[in-house]
């Protein structure tokens, strides 16, 4: 009480004029500090966002280019079909010694003495190990090439690729890096001859998975993710909209609908990995769907996305003013006609926005897909949703576990692709909202 009384006493005596100390300086300092904390917090978040994105982009933008070596290859009959049996037995062409053909070509191009075995081995290591297979496919498709010399463009080995992109620190002692000084020398020799060049990495988007970083691509993952998105869209949009319409427009207020409400809110917060367990035991174990198939992944992601879509749809339906409903009913529409002819079209932009956001969420989801076996090593692009497949985020997870430097580049490249898709989807949602949203 005294601290209230005393200022009054001070005010009474006119002589003692000093302003009463209410700690204004200290309090303003606290105010400034408090403000600074707020700014610091926002800055922290934004800085980390920038850091994250810049790391990914710095590591990953080079993945969209790939080093290729174009050399003349002499497809000699002596190496491929020494006994000249290919007319009677085509399998000769498949089993032939293509690695030797490739090796000879690069050795000849670099002008190395073929008797120096270590040098020959190092030179051959500059070209991707997938090159013999590429050559084999070429020859099997066109046996007339045998005996001729053709210019073939091979992928460079991942280490040469990194060196060519300047990602290998040449100051590190030679023994501690994966590219030797001789190889660097050859690389520069090829470069000045115009035989080595960086080209756009189409393989990143078309190839399946591979244990060799230079040949690994996102083809399977992109197709798998496309299947997933189509299944999720085809199932969750109609089911979600139907469920929301019932709950919002028709459901009587009773214990059961209350239960469904609470249930949906809780389902939205269930950890995604639990949906993976559900998919594993219900769809794969019980219903007998194939493992690793994008169909199962799509079903699991549908269940996971449904609550999000239902919540968004109900909000959109609720935003349609009651006057529209009354007008429709007043003109003699049945309740069903009122909903489907008037309320639903008006709520559609909101519903689609929610759906796109739900889909974007599903596109980035990894954990449930790991459990239903979509983490398999798949090299061939799946033709149907029943075939084994992976998905973009799962591919990122698999590559993130690989140790090689070149896979870090690929992983970051894959993340950039994933983020681009997410940005596109979210932009679509924002545009949709801007374009069609109505304020009543």
């Amino acid at each position: 009480m005294t601290n209230i009384v005393s200022p009054v006493a001070g005010a009474v005596s006119p002589a003692a004029a000093p302003r009463r100390d209410i700690g204004i300086k200290r309090r303003y300092a606290a105010e400034r500090r408090f403000r600074a904390y707020g700014i610091a917090a926002i800055t922290f978040g934004v800085v980390f966002l920038i850091l994250l994105l810049s790391t990914v982009i710095r590591n990953g933008y080079t993945a969209f280019q790939q080093t290729a070596i174009t050399i003349p290859v002499e497809i000699s009959e002596k190496l491929i079909d020494p006994d000249n049996k290919r007319a009677t037995d085509p399998s000769v062409l498949i089993a032939a010694n293509y690695p030797a053909v490739v090796r000879d070509a690069i050795v000849k191009q670099l002008g190395i003495d073929p008797s120096k075995r270590t040098e020959v081995r190092e030179a051959a290591a500059m070209i991707s190990k997938g090159a013999p297979i590429q050559l084999r496919n070429l020859v099997v498709a066109n046996p007339a090439l045998i005996g001729t010399t053709v210019n073939v463009t091979f992928l460079a080995d991942a280490n040469i690729d990194s060196a060519n992109k300047g990602q290998i620190d040449l100051n590190v002692p030679e023994a501690n890096r994966k590219v030797s000084d001789t190889q660097i020398g050859w690389m520069n020799q090829l470069k000045s001859a115009g035989a080595i060049e960086k080209q756009f990495n189409t393989g990143l988007f078309t190839s399946g998975n591979s244990s060799r970083p230079e040949a690994a691509g996102l083809g399977v993952a992109l197709v798998g993710s496309l299947y997933l998105m189509l299944i999720v869209l085809a199932l969750s949009l109609p089911i979600g909209v139907a469920a929301s319409i019932y709950l919002e427009e028709f459901a009587p207020k009773n214990k059961l609908t209350d239960l469904i409400e609470v249930n949906i809110n809780n389902l939205a917060a269930v950890p995604s990995i639990v949906y993976g367990l559900l998919g594993l035991s219900v769809f794969i174990n019980f219903a007998g769907f194939p493992r690793s198939a994008s169909l199962v992944g799509g079903l699991v992601l549908t269940l996971m996305t449904l609550p999000t879509i239902i919540i968004a749809t109900r909000a959109a339906l609720r935003a349609v003013p009651p006057s529209i409903r009354s007008a429709a009913l007043g003109l003699g529409a049945s309740k069903m006609q009122m909903v489907f002819h008037h309320v639903l079209p008006l709520a559609m932009p909101g519903i689609l926005t929610g759906t796109i956001i739900g889909l974007a969420h599903a596109l980035g989801e990894t954990a449930p897909l790991l459990l239903i076996g979509m983490v398999a090593f798949v090299a061939d692009i799946p033709g149907t949703p029943l075939e084994p497949s992976t998905a973009l985020p799962v591919q990122i997870y698999m590559w993130a576990n690989e140790a090689e430097r070149a896979f870090v580049e690929r992983t970051s490249g894959a993340i950039i692709v994933l983020l681009l898709f997410l940005i596109l989807m979210n932009l679509g949602a924002i545009l949709l909202r801007r374009r069609f949203e109505r304020r009543w």
């Binding site: 707020g38 966002l49 994250l52 950890p271 639990v274 367990l277 219900v282 997870y397 994933l418």
Partner: protein, 494 residues
């Protein structure tokens, strides 16, 4: 007929029924649509529903039930000594039979005859045609496979007939009911309403599915490992059994995993709560509309980034950075350049997860702070309090229950988070208070127990379901409690 062909013909019948019924209704109206009870389209839909719905239901039931009926009858025909074998071997046998059945149509008649009398090696022959067999086929298997092919063909034929007949009959019934006073719209709308009800019950079914599937698998686990060993065990050492082995030697203690989960979640909340809360306060109370419209979406981008990206960021950037930092710090202080922070550690995972959680905390608390009535704010400011004093003494206490609810929801997200911890927290199940060492979580172990070759008989895989139901229960309780708090708080000011 293949299933897709049946579906296609059902669709054709349905469309035909629609067109015929609506044109019939049109004809009945005599050019004056008010003569009809419903618009012609509803008569069409009524006929289409009758044509397609019953037949689709029969088709679905037939497809889901007939394989198991056929399987039972094929198994019943196995020789007695085969029936005496253990269940796992019997399943393998049946798998062989169905593989042979898949291969038989690819063979010519002579080849089939050769296989039956044993002159052709069936395993090699089928392998040639792209149907690998697990082992050598015995005569009874070939017999069973032939039986299976025959029965499947008969079942399919009967099914096609029944389904198509039903569709045509339904269409005819729908067509016959078309009459001017027939209340087609009400009938169609009743079907639609049932469709809506079924759709909304899927949410309930999902929950039931989650609970039942995990309970049943977890029950099998608890039949092998006592529940007390699981819930109170302090050692996690599942010892992967070799293929086919069902040894129960491993130890499945939940405590180290739970400790890791809570510890990492705690570190994450240490990062996310102050940052998120201050960001929310600043944006709600101080920021100009322009800053707010810029900073809020930027922070929300953090919530839109997939967690696998955070995991990768932790793995290649944050983890190595912390490791090198600790190396330098240790070197400067003690002269010994040894890193005391591991690249995979509680700290790494916690910090990165914390960043991921910032937008959850900030947007949830932002809503709650802005929901505090204007009058309370004005009252405090009018009495001479500074803004920060108003926030600390008036707004936060008023918003506290809501904020606690928001934090609980965030915590449940931290506990259920998977990909960040899989990549950044390590796999060592230990109980430790040193945040610089790796620890593991419940979610990491669910993933590691269930990736790779699976066998649903060993406790090593079934334990994942016990972990899953534990996780489900914890997050469910947190969420229900949080929702309860938030709801109660909202009522306070409404």
């Amino acid at each position: 007929m293949s299933t897709s062909l049946i579906l296609l013909s059902l669709l054709v019948i349905g469309i035909a029924a629609y067109v015929m019924a609506s044109s019939r209704a049109n004809a009945l109206s005599g050019g004056k649509s008010s003569n009809l009870h419903s618009r012609p389209g509803y008569y069409g839909s009524y006929a289409a529903v009758w044509a397609m719905l019953p037949s689709l239901i029969v088709l679905a039931l037939w497809l889901s039930i007939s394989p198991s009926i056929i399987e039972t009858s094929i198994r019943g025909a196995f020789p007695d000594e085969v029936k005496a074998q253990p269940a796992a071997t019997q399943n393998l046998n049946y798998g062989m039979v169905s593989a042979i059945a898949r291969g038989l149509p690819k063979l010519t008649a002579e080849e089939v005859a050769g296989i039956t009398d044993g002159s052709i090696d069936i395993q090699a022959k089928l392998g040639e045609k792209g149907v690998p067999l697990a082992g050598a086929a015995e005569p009874y298997m070939i017999e069973g496979a032939k039986n299976l092919t025959a029965k499947t063909a008969v079942s399919r034929l009967v099914m096609t007939g029944v389904v198509l007949l039903l569709a045509v009959a339904g269409a005819a019934y729908g067509l016959r009911s078309v009459a001017p006073r027939f209340r087609a719209r009400n009938q169609v709308e009743r079907v639609m309403l049932w469709g809506l009800i079924v759709a909304s019950s899927i949410a309930i079914l999902t929950t039931i599915g989650i609970v039942l599937s995990m309970l049943s698998e977890a029950a099998r686990f608890f039949a092998m490992v006592p529940a007390s060993d699981f819930f109170f065990g302090t050692v996690w050492d599942p010892r992967f059994a070799g293929a086919g082995g069902t040894s129960t030697e491993g130890q499945f203690g939940l405590i180290p995993l739970l400790a890791g989960t809570l510890y990492i979640g705690f570190v994450a909340m240490l990062v996310a709560v102050p940052v998120g809360l201050f960001a929310a306060i600043y944006m709600a109370e101080y920021a100009s509309p322009r800053l707010r419209s810029l900073a809020k979406p930027l922070l929300e981008v953090l919530a839109g980034i997939p967690t696998i990206v955070y995991g990768f960021f932790a793995l290649v950037t944050v983890g190595p950075f912390l490791r090198d930092l600790s190396q330098q710090v240790n070197g400067l202080v003690t002269g010994n350049y040894m890193n005391f922070i591991q690249a995979q550690s509680v700290l790494t995972a916690g910090i990165v997860m914390g960043i991921m959680l910032i937008p959850y905390v900030s947007s949830l608390s932002d809503d709650i702070i802005t929901a505090v009535p204007r009058a309370m704010r004005d009252g405090s400011l009018g009495l001479g309090a500074t803004r920060s004093e108003t926030i600390k003494k008036v707004i936060l206490p008023a918003a506290l229950p809501g904020i606690v609810g928001a934090l609980l929801m965030t915590a449940s997200r931290a506990i259920g988070e998977t990909m960040i911890v899989v990549l950044a927290a390590g796999v060592a199940a230990r109980i430790d208070i040193n945040p610089f060492e790796p620890m593991t979580t419940v979610t990491v172990k669910i993933v590691s127990q269930l990736t790779g070759d699976l066998e649903f008989t060993s406790p090593q895989t079934l334990v994942a379901f016990a972990l899953g139901i534990t996780l489900f229960c914890i997050t469910l309780c947190l969420n229900i409690y949080a929702l309860y708090i938030v709801r109660k708080y909202r009522e306070q000011y409404e």
